[in-house]
Amino acid sequence: MTAPNITTVVASAGAGKTTRIVGNIATEVTSRDPETIVATTFTVKAADELIERSRAKLFELGMPDKAARLLGARFGTVNAICGQIVSENAIALGRSPRAEVIPEGSVPRIFAIAADAAIERHAPTLNSLADVMGFFEPKRAADAERSDWRTTVRRLIELARANGVPAQDLSVSAERSVATFLELLPPVSIQSSDDLDADLRRAVSSAVDAVPAESSATAKSHIALLRQTDSSIRRGERISWPNWARLSKVSCAKKDGQAFIDALEAVAQAAGRHPAHPRLREDCSQFIRSVFACAAEALTAFQAYKAERGLLDFTDQEALALDVLHDPAMSAGLGERIGRLFVDEFQDSSPLQVAIFTAMSGLVDASTWVGDPKQAIYGFRNADSALTQAAFAGVAASSSEPQDVLATSYRSREGIINLVNAAFEPALSAMGLQAEEHAFSGTGRSEEGFTQAPLAVWWLEGKLELQYAALAAQIREMVTADQPWEVAARPKGVRALRAGDIAILCRSKADIAKVSAALSQQGVKAAVEREGLAQTPHVQLVMAAFRWVADPTDRLALAELARFFAEDPESETWLEALGAENASEALLAIVPISAALQEIREGILSLTPADLVDAIILFPELNRHIESWGDVPARLDDLEALRGFARSYEESCAGEGSPATPSGLALALAAENPARPRSLRDDAVKVMTYHGAKGLEWPVVILTGLGKEPKPRLFEPMAEADGDVDWQNPLTGRWIRYWPWPYASQEKDVYLDASAPSSALGQQAAIRSRDEEARLLYVGMTRARDHLVFAPPAKGTLHWLKVLDGDETEHFGLPCTAGEEIRAGTKSFPARTITLVCGEGVEAQPPAVSFGRITRPTGQRAPLHRRPSGASSGETFIIVEKSTIGPRLPFAGNPDMTLLGEAVHAIIAADQPHNPHDARLNQAQAILNRWGVHQVAAKDVLGANDRLFAEISKRWPSGRIHRETPVSARIGDQLVTGRIDLLVEHGSGFAIIDHKSFPGSPDSWDARAVGHGSQLQLYADALDKARLGAPCELFIHMPIVGGFLRINRKVE
């Protein structure tokens, strides 16, 4: 096998890599089948942009057929492309061909179901260990995550799969985790576990006895702890490790008396020996081993469960795609279909993904891997920057061509790229990235029209809330007042800043919420994803109506509707209604839409839950009421999200094989309380995380959270790799490390807090996290087009900026006062520096008036289609002729009349009386056979048809016969379409003949015949439109009984 032909392209931020890939694709299609191109990107949006631009380019270049064929190429996220490969090979892989991707939200539930036996088996051990490790202690903060060993098991499984560690090898990882964990602890105590326990028990018991009658405030909580511990000891329970840690920190005030002070000292000393406690080692080792063992079993069970059902999660798509790539037969098949590979955002690949790209590169003629090692920020999602960086280097080294570098920014102004170049030099070189490849070489942006330097520093004073309030006030000032914040205009020059030009980047969801709250207090619109969709008034109004439609006994919903529809925001009418003799009726009376909602309820059985949501959202009066609250676009965004939730609820029901019901939807919404969507409005300030900003750009970018301290991830599962990274075999030497944290919320002074970070693995982790933080900051700073604003807190260390030091010190500094400059190494950069202090609150502004549809009367419209078969009207029909044209057909046995009718009708429709009798008989018999009708003889049916034809030629000797002929017409505003069984077109008009396989006796014919009158009349009316004024007679032919009747509209 020849070495794969891979080219790497290092594309710095905003350096036009999409343009580059589009150009390459345009060249490629001239020499190869467009369908064989594969292009992977990081997001659906990016893939969409890439295919749109590529196809547009081909159309522009006059290659419409190539452009059309490019639709058949593989453009998508890594997962989408792997998913496609897997589903193409599902049967070859021996899996269910139904390759359904599990929605991210459903994974935990499906895992819980699949892994139930494994979890049940390990639950007793793990629950009791988790108990002593304080996993079940109450949460300290509302947003703190609960430790749940099942989450750890799931994470271990995810990592194992992303790193290609098979289930049977997890025990190796377990042993290595145990060994490295035990190294973090001090030498084990020479005292036995029981002795150490007994010491502490004694000390606690004496301390409880020594509790002073009047205790100090300091002592209060410690005394409570002692008492609790004492009674749990008496119950024979073990003292949990967090409580050991807490007991090692007990103290009191002088006034509690020396005896108590001494007693506490003894407790602290006895408890303080917990790091060396033999049982701590046992507990933790056993916990690690059990968690891994459970993970191994659960992994096997989870995979089997999914394989059987054809379910896939994202990792499965990749792992199975790799199986395909490694299988000679399957990969050969794939090799036929792909010829050229483009990988975008290569730096964010996981080891598994690198393995996929490497294997795929072996199948194609050429590969291009585009990425930027400086922007690798998805370590927490299994990306491995060391590996991707090694791959870049390795490919470059093996190629004779110089590494391809896109280093001109088409995004940022010169001042920004100069700052970035200077600021990141040490950090990048600490990562092993050389300036010559990674510094910007220049910018394509012009300075024309700008009066201000692109950099600014805003020091924010006060507590966090006040900082953000000050920031928000400043932004309001920027967009309302006439401040010099010009931004680039299209096609050239500058224009004034608008709110939609600004992005505020935050470190956490909590910060986003605070910033957006501060902005909305200032009346600045913010486009931000935040919590609480179900708590917005418009969603609550819609859901109150929804609930009441779904369940008429829901009086609470009705009361809510009454409140929403009251004119006065503080109206008490709802309360009065609730107190009334018949509360439900009184409530109905004050809810103006109750009757209309009742009408919706009538049709609820034909609606799906999501349909019902739509019906209510668009219900005119309710809709208008929401519009009357102003700020309509934001409300529409939320309502659209509600529609999306309803649909995903239905989908998740489908995935779980459970039914979807309105009550189920209402409960799911309450239980999940989805987020309010990030608005796509372009008149709002964007607030988002640094990670979320990846791939985007704005004229003004404001960086917050600069005080955040990088924390290595030590006590959660992590993938580790042995020795030097081998990018060509990215999955070798990988193992999963998991160190448990046995002290719950006790984070300081427990020994482990100091020993772990200083261990070898701990230090590696620290470097990893420092580098990742540096890259995240790089991503943040390079989002800015025209202005980059640092918004640090005025007090405290700017820990995050310290990552810029790399292996140096004091490399980067922000100016403290106006006039100073930003300093990076030996260079300095002018910046507008101010300190922002939160001022007085601002008046809430009245919402702007919205405009809505002009109210018009809405009459009822009739259905568009008038169906002849369903026609019924007030008209009555009479029999004007009645004759018997033949005998009753003999039946053998008891036929199913519906089938018989169909078969007889089919014979008459197809029979050609002038054909040889044999042929006719064969055809008729074949029809009877297909319909499974044996009770009537083919020849008898043909006889009936012969008689019909005799009748026709007698009546209309030169008539043209049309069998089963379609007819359509517009009658008034309605449409008629249908098929006439037999139409005779004769000199003076038409005869419509309808076959009815009616077996009744002659006295029942009349009633049956006139029953079809309006249907035939409708055909006649349609014919009248086709040929104006032509007379038309209506006949019913009853082949089974030989009846032939003419009917007519009764003229009153």
């Binding site: 089948d33 949006k45 547009a56 159309f59 639709l71 058949g72 193409e88 899996r95 269910s96 139904r98 819980a112 139930d116 049940e120 639950a123 007793p124 609790q228 059987e308 059902r309 609930r547 369940d551 829901d554 009086r555 609470l556 409140r563 925001p569 503080e570 109206s571 008490e572 107190g579 003799e581 609606l607 839950p609 349909d611 668009l618 009357s628 609250w629 529409l636 965004d637 309502l639 529609r643 999306g644 459970s658 039914p659 209402a666 309010r676 919205s850 405009f851 809505g852 549809r853 809405t858 568009l864 014979i907 197809a910 029809i927 089963e964 007819v967 017409a969 517009r970 309605q974 439109k1025």
Partner: protein, 895 residues
């Protein structure tokens, strides 16, 4: 007969019918399905229709039979794993081969020959559209003088798939005249430029004359508003000749916006298996698997039209939501209730009739349960499906309700498919797949139909076959139609070709797709408007392939042809694609606001008299006056939308019930006996009142409860023994009237008697942590405990001492000094203090209410209205767990 044939013309197409007059006969527009049916009728080739599920079932049987002779066929493993999905996709492959002209015999390629094996094995397979078309090709050859004069093709002939090309060739050979639908005229405006660009790539600059516009909207809701507004500014006459392309075939959203303006509805409705009436089928199966699935049963009972009488269903649902299981007291009581109810209602009918009715109902709720790992016997599955069909038929009772008829059809198809499949035990996966399949097309909304007027809609851009004035493309977003990748390798395609089977190339398919996308634009005479929402049903959308193609023209002209839909919200008049759109200013309304103080109408005040409080109502009262008034005095409730209690509540219920059983009145039983008895009873009670815990995803919780609950009860026995008390009873009802205090009624978890200290109350709790209860005691707010204490003895002046027994922690927590407190909590508030505080708090609030004032204590500014010196102040966060926040407007998003 003259036909117009287009690949996408099976559904609605535009114009309505051929010709320029108001009516036509002996002529029609048909799609593939329509053409085949037409020819089959004429040629005598009709046959009964077979549900797709039955075809899949037959094919699964054929594949199985094939494997019996040749066990190594390439699909062996997949078929064993997931027979249904495997058969369904292999059937698709097989049908593609047939369409290509495959003869069904061996051609020396392994995978293809496996299909040949299947073709000959097992039961016969009903013909698919490919088989039928090929039969027609043969039949046409030998038939002279077809009653078909001509066919006008909508698609260019060379773009038709091979199968259709062949049929058209054959028809032409037997004398049918084949022609091509004429192109439409173009003009020299933007639309003309766009059409020219699409036709041959000739570049031009758009001017924004309104003949071509793209409406961008953030949301589908806003896009619908814009489309409806544009249409509502057309006269009725202008609507004629206007066609909406709705590629996903669902205009429900748009139609609601149209109807709000009195415009005609388009009436395209998506099929969905989730329509209320169809749910009975999957639910009936879900409720037949063990362990008993309370949630599925509840869903079945809560359907808008449940399979048993609604009154009975609601009773059972209520029981199930309290005690999710069968055999528990609530369930049995509900059945008793139903029986007596029925006896009353059908008092004149004979007993047998009532019994039959009850038996029929019980079939739905108490049928046999089958274990998932064993599967369900085919007969049992058929009888469930038949029961559903039967019920739907009876319920429909001649009304021809289309949904119920769909359900009947689906259930019958399921029975038939099970028969054809011929497997004895059906796995849950297989049955689930089969049910999905028979409901797959689901039903469209029968009430959602097009209404009269000039407006039309089509489901596919290729379905516009003649001149239209205005073409509006609704939901103009990606992915659009795409090629799915072919399963065949190059070698297989070559082998097939050598044997006369032609598999269409992806290039040919993409060319056809490109043609039909452009077609919709070419057919417009006056105007094209594309409506493109950025979010549709909450999902970010991608761009349509036609947008890619238009990009070189539209990107430079962005500012003049793109129109943001949200603009409509901001002013009274707008110019959009040749229409002046007028809007009216909406009179602003203020949002309902929170307020701390409300006045009560006399009718509410009247309800304050003769009240009996409970521990819960007093707890509500202590937290929030308003909550008590609304929930307890006015009995405002959230309806019967039942929710099965969560895990910890179920575990609590289970533990309570266990305690009830293992602590009979009398001396405290031996801890060991308590332990083993609780252990033994655990599973029985689990399936009687807490079945959701048996569902696999709760394995972890259940495993720990199995260990903890019996141990906790044994520990309680130990503690009680050590205290030397006897049990008076568990779950004891007590009521008492207090002078200057409320009338109270309640049910006490456990009452005990101590020789010296007298009566004591024990309240059992199951929760993650004991913290809340400790705090309650410390702060003198343990309302429940003190209430039970107060009513424990009808004659004592002070409440009986009480303690919480925390089952999860095995701690008996009480105030220090109490004989019950194994674990004591220090507090400045004794229980008697707390009780008298509670009584006076109650009094203060009641008096305030009598004066006609209600205070929502969680609302801003409530402090000013709370009575001074209230002994028990409202909670610090009263609204946190309150279900009334939407009503009070507290803790909700401001905007």
């Amino acid at each position: 007969m003259k036909l117009i044939f287009g690949l996408s013309c099976d559904g609605p197409s535009f114009p309505d019918f051929p010709g320029r007059s108001e009516g036509v006969f002996n002529a029609a527009v048909v799609g593939p399905q329509g053409l085949i049916e037409m020819l089959e009728v004429q040629l005598g080739l009709t046959a009964p229709r077979v549900a797709h599920a039955v075809r899949v079932s037959s094919y699964a049987a054929k594949l199985r039979a094939a494997l019996a002779t040749a066990p190594d066929l390439f699909f062996a493993q997949s078929l064993t794993l997931d027979p249904w999905a495997t058969a369904a996709s292999l059937l698709d492959w097989r049908d593609e081969l047939i369409a290509g002209g495959w003869s069904g015999s061996h051609i020396g390629a392994a995978r293809l020959d496996a299909f040949a094996v299947a073709e000959e094995a097992g039961p016969p397979l009903a013909p698919g559209i490919g088989d039928r078309t090929r039969t027609l090709c043969e039949a046409v050859k030998v038939r002279a003088g077809l009653p078909l004069a001509s066919i006008e093709l909508v698609e260019p002939r060379d773009l038709l798939p091979p199968l259709w090309q062949r049929l058209i060739d054959k028809l032409e050979g037997s004398g049918v005249e084949i022609s091509h639908a004429p192109a439409c005229a173009t003009s020299a405006n933007d639309l003309g430029h766009v059409q020219a660009f699409l036709a041959d790539g000739s570049p031009s600059t758009l001017t924004g004359d309104g003949s071509f516009a793209i409406v961008h909207a953030d949301t589908a809701l806003a896009a619908a508003e814009a489309a409806a507004e544009w249409l509502s500014h057309c006269s009725e006459a202008e609507l004629h000749g206007t066609v909406i392309v709705s590629a996903d075939g669902d205009t429900a959203l748009l139609d609601r916006a149209l109807q709000a303006r009195g415009l005609p509805a388009l009436g395209l409705s998506a099929s969905s298996p989730w329509r209320g009436a169809l749910q009975v089928l999957p639910l009936a199966f879900a409720a037949s698997w063990g362990p008993f699935n309370a949630k599925a049963m509840l869903d079945l009972l809560m359907l808008p039209r449940p399979p048993i009488a609604r009154r009975a269903a609601r009773k059972l649902a209520y029981a199930l939501s309290r005690e999710p299981g069968t055999g528990g007291p609530a369930w049995l009581a509900a059945w008793g209730n139903i029986e007596s109810d029925l006896a009353e209602r059908m008092s004149t009918e004979p007993q047998e009739k009532r019994d039959a009715k009850l038996a029929a109902w019980r079939q739905w709720t108490s049928g046999e349960l089958y274990q998932r790992h064993e599967g369900m016997p085919a007969e049992a599955a058929k009888s469930i499906a038949s029961r559903v069909a039967q019920w739907a038929l009876e319920t429909n009772a001649g009304n021809a309700d289309p949904l119920l008829l769909t359900l009947v059809g689906a259930a019958q198809a399921l029975v038939q498919a099970i028969d054809v499949l011929n497997i004895e035990m059906l796995s849950p996966l297989l049955l689930g797949r089969m049910t999905d399949q028979v409901l797959a097309d689901g039903a469209q909304n029968p009430n959602h139909v097009a209404t009269s007027g000039g407006l039309r809609a089509v489901r596919h851009p290729g379905a516009v076959w003649g001149d239209a004035k205005n073409v509006l493309w609704w939901d103009f977003n990606g992915p659009g139609e795409r090629v799915s990748s072919s399963p065949w390798t190059a070698a297989e395609v070559a082998a097939l070709k050598a044997n006369g089977c032609e598999i269409e190339s992806p290039a040919a398919i993409t060319a056809r797709i490109g043609w039909s996308n452009a077609n919709a634009v070419h057919r417009a005479g006056e105007r094209v408007i594309l409506f493109s929402p950025a979010l549709s049903a909450g999902e970010e959308t991608t761009s349509h392939p036609l947008a890619h193609q238009l990009n070189p023209l539209t990107t430079p002209a962005k500012d003049i042809i793109q129109w943001p839909a949200e603009q409509l919200l901001h002013g009274p008049s707008h110019e959009l694609a040749g229409r002046g759109i007028l809007r009216e200013a909406i009179t602003p309304n203020l949002l309902p606001a929170q307020r701390p103080r409300w006045s009560l109408p006399a009718s509410v005040i009247a309800k304050l008299e003769d009240r009996v409080e409970s521990a819960t109502s007093l707890e509500h009262l202590a937290d929030c006056h308003m909550r008590w008034l609304l929930l307890d005095v006015l009995r405002l409730s959230g309806g019967r939308v039942a929710e099965i209690p969560g895990t910890s509540q179920l575990l609590g219920n289970l533990a309570h019930e266990l305690a009830n059983r293992v602590f009979p009145p009398g001396p405290v039983p031996d801890p060991e006996a308590v332990f083993s008895q609780a252990n033994d009873l655990f599973d029985e009670l689990l399936s009687a009142i807490a079945t959701p815990l048996q569902q696999p995803e709760y394995a972890g919780e259940l495993a720990s409860a199995r260990v903890k609950v019996p141990a906790a009860l044994a520990q309680l026995a130990r503690l009680l023994q050590a205290m030397d008390v006897t049990v008076i009873g568990t779950e004891i009802e007590r009521a008492r009237t207090f002078v200057d205090g409320p009338d109270v009624k309640g049910r006490i978890d456990m009452l005990i008697e101590h020789p010296a200290h007298g009566t004591g109350v024990i309240d059992l709790k199951w929760s993650r942590s004991a913290k809340t209860r400790r705090n309650e005691l410390a702060e003198g707010r343990s309302i429940q405990l003190v209430t039970y204490g107060a009513i424990a003895n009808s004659n004592s002046t002070t409440p009986a001492p009480g303690a919480f027994y925390m089952l999860n922690q095995r701690q008996l927590i009480g105030l220090s000094g109490s004989f019950l407190a194994e674990e004591s909590v220090e507090s400045d508030h004794s229980l008697p203090d707390t009780w008298s505080n509670l009584a006076s708090t109650w009094q203060a609030w009641r008096d305030l209410a009598r004066e006609g004032i209600a205070v929502a204590t969680g609302a801003d500014g409530a402090e000013a209205h709370i009575p001074a010196d209230l002994p028990i102040e409202p909670g610090t966060e009263p609204c946190r767990y309150c279900e009334l926040t939407a009503l009070c407007r507290v803790g909700v998003e401001a905007n």
